[in-house]
């Protein structure tokens, strides 16, 4: 049995560590919800309650709907390739015995680098004239693209940078999960004459499913909050084609100081992440094998 903690112990071990959590996480979350029902503009000391006006205005606003769709597209477009390639690379690495750490090191390096710095590098790599990407494309006989200034390709450019940065991270998590799979499972599968695909389908995928779920939640939350790469590469443009909800929130809050509308966007981002987490938990009960 544990000891029942006394007042001083609670103060030291619980209350004090909770102060920063309370001041910069929990209170701001509730204040955000409250502000979203006001028309506060940050500068004036007064504000009025406007009920659901901020939300109604947003839902009627075409640029909000565009941002919502962009966010969903960006999230799916980054999370799925990151998980799929991370898994494939990990499975390939798992077959090797030597040089594994060296290869993992190369693939994981992008994750260490600052997103701002590397986005600046990528913005030049995407340059239509001098960038290596178009040079590579013309080598393959593909058309040169105006990556960042064309609203058809700008989102893909942002997705490429985001996936590039996170693949190594997903790969390491899968590598760890794969090393924990008992080898005799494969031996049994070999005796039964299972094909490679069958082994992947019936052994690997089910047994790494907790990792997949974890990565899905974390990467989705990460994508919902993506900012640095969008800020450097496109500033939400061209024609709003890379403006996500978070970017819209940033523009409302810290460029227009329209705090009411901004916090309404924040609350909607919160709701989306809550739904996402909830759904993942539901799905996990059915499909994840612990």
């Amino acid at each position: 049995m544990n000891n029942k903690a006394n007042f001083w112990q609670i103060l030291l071990f619980v209350a004090i560590p909770c102060i920063p959590l309370l001041i910069f996480w929990i209170i701001p979350l509730f204040v955000s919800v409250w502000l979203s029902f006001t028309n506060w503009d940050y500068i004036s000391p007064t504000y009025e309650y406007v009920g659901l006006d901020n939300y109604i205005k947003l839902l009627k606003d075409a640029s909000f709907l565009q941002a919502l769709l962009n966010t969903l597209f960006f999230t799916a477009g980054t999370v799925i390739p990151t998980i799929v390639f991370g898994f494939i690379f990990a499975v390939m690495l798992n077959r090797l015995r030597r040089n594994v750490v060296f290869l993992q090191g190369l693939m994981f390096a992008p994750w260490i680098t600052p997103m701002i710095g590397m986005s600046i590098v990528w913005s030049w790599m995407f340059d239509p004239q001098v960038g290596p990407i178009n040079q590579f494309f013309s080598l393959l006989g593909l058309p040169k693209l105006n990556w960042l200034t064309d609203s058809d390709t700008a989102m893909w450019a942002v997705i490429i940078v985001t996936v590039w940065k996170n693949i190594g991270w997903a790969m390491l998590f899968f590598s760890d999960a794969l090393t924990k799979i008992p080898q005799d499972l494969f031996e049994v599968a070999d005796i039964e004459g299972a094909s490679l695909l069958a082994k992947v389908r019936y052994i690997l995928i089910p047994l790494v499913s907790p990792t997949t779920l974890f990565l899905f939640i974390i990467l989705s939350l990460d994508s919902l909050q993506a900012f640095d790469q969008i800020n450097v590469l496109t500033q939400g443009g061209p024609a709003g084609s890379t403006r996500t909800l978070l970017y819209l929130y940033y523009e409302f809050a810290f460029q227009q100081f329209n705090m009411g509308t901004a916090t309404a966007v924040a609350v909607l981002i919160l709701i989306i992440s809550a739904i996402l987490s909830f759904l993942s938990m539901k799905i996990s009960k059915k499909y994840v094998y612990y």
Binding site: M1, N2, K4, A5, L12, F13, V14, I16, P17, P20, L21, F24, W25, I26, P28, L29, V31, L35, R95, V101, L106, M107, F108, A109, P110, I112, T113, P114, G117, M118, I120, V121, W122, W124, M125, P132, W164, G168, L172, D176, A177, T211, F214, I217, L224, Q225, F227, D228, V232, L246, Y250, F254, M259, A262, T263, A266, I269, L270, S273, A274
Partner: protein, 279 residues
């Protein structure tokens, strides 16, 4: 049989090496570009390697903006944040794993749900709080607002739970205080988890951009990413300063990368170990 086995491994190794080099290429391109002349990057004489490495691009970049100051700011704030986080998170993680009090489960659920929510949603109120505390435009503001790290709390709680109950009970029976049990028994046994949490948090805080850019206004308080992005938005559009810009970017990317390659095995272990925590 053995021969096809080696063959397969060799092919696999070559494919993976290509993928790895491909992923590492942006960093190589950045460093090569930082050593070129403007003409070599943009002109007709485009080459892969710089013909005559322009090391002077680096002192020129340092002259254009105080990047060493920015690097120090990032290093300093990230270090202080990690140390305080580690201290506070250890206390809370210990309480959540080995102490009994009313509302422990509720507190854990609150911490858990905070982990699932995007931090950006807190920026508007936190901005006001920082302003009210008089910490706007200061390194202290960056430090104070980043002290809570839910991920670290989780990682530590998960590892503290692995410390055998009997060990803690025995220490209590011998009259050891909870403080002593935490720092003399539980923390040393969870040393790896603590180092892992520190490395991950340090990288995040060193590279942090959005929040620090909102609450710092004067150049002397910029973190490296903030300073670099300001430099980029003022210089980046002029093509002829491109090698200079790449030199400045290299200054922001290379320090952590160097540490990473020296301690590579350790970094890789870090992420894999933290893979042990799942929700």
């Amino acid at each position: 049989m053995a021969k096809t086995y080696t063959m397969e491994k060799t092919i696999l190794f070559i494919i993976l090496l290509c993928i790895g080099l491909f992923m590492f290429y942006p960093m190589v391109w950045m460093i090569l570009s930082s050593l070129k002349t403007t003409d070599e990057v943009l002109g007709s004489s485009m080459t892969f390697l710089p013909s005559d490495p322009q090391w002077s691009n680096f002192p020129r970049a340092l002259e254009a903006a105080p990047f060493l100051r920015f690097l120090w700011n990032s290093f300093f704030t990230a270090s202080v944040i990690v140390l305080v986080q580690l201290f506070l998170s250890s206390l809370l993680a210990y309480a959540l794993s080995h102490m009994e009090f009313k509302g422990r489960h509720a507190l854990f659920m609150i911490v858990l749900s905070t982990y699932m929510l995007p931090g950006a949603a807190t920026y508007v109120p936190s901005y006001v709080i920082i302003a009210r505390m008089g910490l706007m435009d200061s390194l202290n503001g960056i430090i104070v607002s980043n002290l809570a790290n839910v991920f670290t709390i989780f990682l530590l709680r998960q590892n503290f739970l692995k410390v055998p109950r009997e060990l803690i009970e025995a220490a209590r029976a011998d009259g050891a205080s909870e403080w002593l049990i935490l720092w003399r028994i539980v923390a040393p046994l969870s040393k790896n988890a603590m180092i892992n949490a520190s490395i991950l948090s340090f990288i995040g805080n060193f590279n942090n951009y959005l929040w620090p850019s909102l609450i710092t206004k004067s150049e002397e308080n910029y973190l490296i990413s903030v300073g670099l992005n300001r430099f980029f938005s003022t210089q980046g559009t002029f093509a002829d300063t491109f090698p200079l810009l790449m030199a400045a970017t290299a200054l922001s990317v290379v320090p952590l990368l160097l540490v990473y390659f020296i301690l590579q095995k350790y970094f890789i272990g870090t992420v894999s170990t933290s893979a042990g925590i799942k929700g």
